[in-house]
Subunit: 320 residues, 2 copies
């Protein structure tokens, strides 16, 4: 089986045919039409075996996660996903692995109504690069440099589950029940990108970011880009019952503040917009949980019941 | 040095700032504006160390080639290059390697007036995935499935040089002079994509393809996609003096027909358009050399002074 047959059979997913795709897979280039009045949002992420997923990870889950991490970036910008391209490098052409990978791609593509418009496959160490394209109406792109002092900092869901799921997958953490294990593994292996929440936040959030690199690391970008500090309250950070049942406070803090791989959105809203934002997110099945406030000089401080904690104790590295 | 610093310092090339880029590197997504009346052409290619370039290849040349192979796909579609995204996986963060890589990127980006709008870096085996975006006016996308019987098949320049350059780089072929060696190595290591030729061919070529996978392999796609056969004349295939000075006829045939990595365009024109097409390509420094004709049932036949040759003898694999 050669490259072209692999693309045709496993990657092209020819059934889905969006109207804005004039030429999909099968020529030197894809040819696309961006709808009038829309801007194009573009993001690209690479997942490497042993770095971003465990070597024994199911192919379908790799496909799922590779798409999810990119859609999460689109969600952070308030973009509606449209097209993806995919470059797959694999050590050997294993048909059953590819069929499994294909099933993961197909589920995500159908669920989000997106189309694979191009791809490349080659022999090499297992890695997947996906680029996702989405649309944003003019003027409503959600950036990270537009938060203002006094605004609330919110997240769309529980933090820390993915980092704990990684420990479970690595057999470094025991679970009291199969349900807990399944929940945490799922959060790590097949995260669900907050696409609908991102679109709902378009006209309400004053700034936004996805927190896949860890809450503190990503909020640090937002803080410096916006030139305002952030004061977080540890006791407000949403944690799942499963996480609380399995980890002590130190591990919870480390996972939720620095763990990464939680594909939730973090955003800022004006205080008098909080209730409307909570209602808007509720209608798309997401939460809107205030965890702190924009305040002071750039940088992040975390309070635990009124006392400041040393965030360097929780794996946080200063990037700037 | 972390991922964000690497992107800022070596990949972002912030000096270039196109008007159609509303947000470049530095947020979750890039935000872009496709000019009115234009369609978006998108292509993606991955280069892997040891597969697509030799392990001792200069970083600047890797950057050059990674951009060139993508711009060649845009050229085949008649698209004007605009933006690229880049994912770089490398085993270690080597600053002098990155500076060299950066200089190669910078040269290409400035030469073609394009902008890097996003990127990703991670630790892993050395590989580069680039996605290139270009513009095509409505209605003039050059496809591979639109050639008709009777039309001439042409190429924009010499074939086989890159395959011979690879043999030279591998010390498998001796060169009579340094000039010959430099010429062939350059053709293999830093190919020049036929961007201006692709744009000049927009309204003249009836179909087009880039022949980076080898003339026969790529023309086989064009033939089957267009449902017409192709009859090539070996004696018309353009070969450089350097190639002829170094290779016997069998090696020349193998290199020019199946070698791949020649980033020339192959296209079809109506016979009465040949002269105008030659003039149009001449003004952009490219050639227009007829090498055969669309004729008969799908598939490719190659004639050498009136006698058909067995193309399977020259490394050609049937893909369909």
């Amino acid at each position: 089986m050669n490259e072209f047959e692999i693309i045709d059979q496993f990657l092209a997913l020819e059934s889905k045919n969006r109207k804005d795709v004039l030429q999909g897979v099968g020529d030197d280039c894809a040819l696309l039409k961006v709808p009038r009045g829309q801007r194009l949002a573009v993001t690209m992420d690479t997942l490497i075996s042993g770095v971003h997923f465990l070597e024994d990870c199911h192919a379908a889950d790799i496909a799922h996660k590779a798409i999810a991490v990119n859609l999460s970036d689109l969600a952070a910008a308030g973009a509606e996903p449209a097209w993806i391209t995919l470059s797959l490098s694999m050590p050997e052409f294993n048909q059953s692995w590819l069929a499994d990978f294909h099933s993961g791609l197909k589920r995500m593509v159908e669920h989000f109504g997106i189309q694979i418009i191009g791809g490349d496959t080659c022999r090499g160490p297992l890695s997947i690069t996906i680029q996702a394209h989405g649309f944003v109406p003019e003027q409503v792109f959600c950036r990270r440099n537009t938060a203002k002092a006094g605004e609330l900092v919110c997240v769309t869901g529980n933090l820390g589950d993915a980092a704990l799921g990684l420990l479970v997958a690595q057999n470094k953490l025991e679970c009291p029940s199969k349900d807990t294990m399944d929940y945490l593994l799922k959060k790590f292996q097949t995260p669900y990108p907050q696409v609908a929440a991102g679109i709902a936040l378009r006209s309400r959030a004053t700034a936004g970011i996805d927190i896949s690199d860890g809450l503190l690391a990503d909020l640090n970008h937002l803080s410096h880009a916006s030139d305002v500090g952030i004061l977080l309250n540890w006791e407000r950070i949403p944690l799942s019952e499963q996480a609380k049942s399995i980890a002590d406070k130190t591990l919870l803090m480390k996972s939720a503040l620095s763990g990464g791989d939680d594909y939730e959105l973090c955003f800022t809203v004006k205080e008098d917009e909080l209730q409307a934002t909570q209602q808007a997110l509720e209608t798309v099945g997401a939460q809107c949980i205030p965890i702190g406030r924009m305040s002071g000089k750039p940088g992040i401080r975390v309070m635990d019941h009124g006392e400041e904690i040393q965030i360097s104790d929780f794996g946080f590295q200063h990037f700037e």
